[in-house]
Amino acid sequence: MRSLHTVLFNGYYIEFFIHYFTKNIIFNSLSRTINWMDIHIIDAAVNATVNISFSLNKLLRKTDRGLMSDNSGAMLIGVVILLFIILIEGIA
């Protein structure tokens, strides 16, 4: 009788359930996790492309110092590659 009274007195715990569900399940679990994911995975992946671009930029700048010897060396490698392609095609 006492337990029935408690259940009725608390309105079948409906309010408690709604409060628990919205606070702990929707807000603290689902929404918080999705928010974390949005910041740390999805947006971070987008921002990572920026960092990758910067890193590539740094790397490429090392190869382009504006020195005559570097430029002529790159040109020479290019000529060798072209000659190689022509040679292969000629054989084929």
Binding site: I26, F27, S31, I34, N35, D38, I42, V46
Partner: protein
């Protein structure tokens, strides 16, 4: 004024105004208001001229015979509806920007934007469509980058790069279409003409998915919304996002119906994820404008779900929801911007008790919020209900879970009402006066009027929306 003048005249006018009349910059807002009213008149006049089926030819220009580079301007009912929506929003955005600082350049950019966006909706040549599509980015970049909040440059660059990268996919798809079909006119391309429709479908879908935006390509939007001035957020949500949805209908669903049917499940899943994901994000947000931005993404998720049905009823529901979303989200953004201006904070904890200081503005905020959660007698209800019905008809009863979006909407909106509108008055609210410029308030009233009128009499819109799709051959 002819169709070509309606596109290029605003661009020329913006340039002219930038060089002349610099000392009388305040005149620009009157010029832009007059121009946008004229553009609305032009759009409305097209409804009478439209044939029962097919396109209304508005002319071909810049015919370079060696290339298929003709600027073919033609409209059908779908594009005319989009033109009218755009013109209405441009007028209301002008009214909402009445007290904007540095007015000269601001309105010039708005005028330039109007020309390019009309070009998007009127041109059926892929290349010209693409040119106008890209041109819309330029004024938007400056509008966010100059008039935005503290991190405006970051948001403007992110917006520009993100959407521009997506545009590259679209351009690639257009060239593939040309290579395989030999035509550049979207009204002439049929799926049977293409050898690799699947690849083209994916390129176009991904390109337009960024613009709409669909999860996981949405991250540019909250940043852009938060940093953009409030009237520009209205344009972003009301016009730019709709541009993506329009292109998705026109070039993905209508042009490639078989492949769209094949991958409808992908569209559906992404739509469902967008809707729930952004809904949960909105619940967690304490930043008012960010909350509205996520609510906007959640509603676009609903539009994507409606598109995934690939049915006439689904497309009609999607278009209604697009229009409803534009009118509902606008006052929310405008009021969020106004509250930030007055309280100096974006956070809800600093905005409690607005109702006591600004009852009319609060009432409009509540009305728009109730529209966003889909309360009957508002546009939101009709939009969500028609999407729910069409998705149940097409995918079965399990799609009733779309109705949960309304529950999520209720979660974040009613909680926002409690924190922002009601509750204890915060210190920053106490010391501010919430007097809005009467013309800016008028814009809010007009938005509220549309939310209720089209919510109570949805047939005023469906009368035009339903026939807009009957000419298309869907599977």
């Amino acid at each position: 004024m002819s169709a070509i003048e309606i596109i290029f005249m605003p661009m020329v006018l913006a340039l002219v105004l930038s060089f002349f009349l610099r000392s009388k910059a305040y005149i620009n807002k009157y010029i832009s208001l007059f121009l946008f009213i004229y553009m609305l008149g032009f759009s409305v006049s097209l409804f009478k001229k439209l044939p029962d089926e097919g396109y209304l030819q508005l002319g071909s220009f810049l015919d370079v015979s060696r290339f298929d580079f003709v600027l073919t301007l033609q409209v059908d009912l779908l594009s005319t509806i989009m033109l009218t929506l755009t013109a209405v929003l441009l007028i209301l955005v002008t009214l909402s920007s009445w007290s904007m600082p540095k007015q000269g350049m601001y309105f010039n950019l708005l005028i330039a934007f109007s020309g390019s966006i009309f070009g998007v909706f009127m041109s059926t040549n892929f290349l010209w469509f693409f040119i106008f599509w890209e041109l819309t980015l330029v004024p938007m970049y400056f509008l966010i980058g100059i008039w935005g909040a503290q991190k405006r440059v970051y948001a403007a660059v992110k917006f520009f790069l993100y959407t521009h990268l997506a545009s590259m996919l679209i351009l690639l798809a257009f060239f593939l279409i040309y290579k395989e079909s030999g035509v550049f006119d979207m009204s002439l391309v049929k799926e049977s003409m293409l050898m690799s429709p699947v690849l083209i479908w994916w390129l176009l879908f991904l390109g337009f998915a960024v613009k709409m935006p669909i999860f996981p390509f949405h991250t540019w939007l909250p940043d852009a919304h938060v940093q953009a001035p409030a009237p520009i957020s209205v344009l972003l949500a009301g016009v730019l996002l709709k541009m993506g949805a329009y292109a998705m209908i026109r070039m993905v669903i209508v042009m490639l119906p078989e492949t769209s049917q094949q991958y409808a499940w992908v569209v559906l899943i992404l739509g469902l994820i967008s809707m729930f994901y952004a809904g949960f994000m909105a619940i967690y947000e304490t930043h008012l404008k960010k909350m509205v931005a996520y609510s906007s993404i959640s509603h676009m998720g609903l539009v994507v779900i409606a598109l995934s049905t690939m049915s006439y009823s689904g497309l009609s529901a999607a278009l209604y929801e697009m229009i409803g979303h534009a009118f509902i989200i606008a006052p929310l953004f405008l009021i969020a911007g106004f509250l930030h201006q007055k309280t100096g904070s974006w956070y809800m904890k600093d905005m409690g008790g607005i109702m006591q200081k600004a009852p009319y503005i609060s009432a409009i905020f509540i009305l728009a919020g109730l529209g966003a959660l889909g309360l009957p007698s508002t546009m939101g209800f009709i939009g969500e209900l028609s999407i729910l019905i069409s998705s149940i008809q097409n995918f079965g009863l399990w799609m009733a879970l779309v109705a949960l979006s309304s529950m999520l909407g209720a979660g974040y909106m009613i909680w926002t009402f409690r924190r922002v509108i009601y509750g204890e008055m915060s210190a920053s609210v106490k010391k501010s006066n919430f007097i809005m410029h009467p013309i800016e308030f008028l814009a809010l009233v007009i938005f509220a009027f549309f939310i209720i009128v089209f919510g109570l009499f949805p047939n005023l819109l469906f009368e035009y929306i339903n026939p807009a799709f009957s000419q298309f051959e869907l599977l």
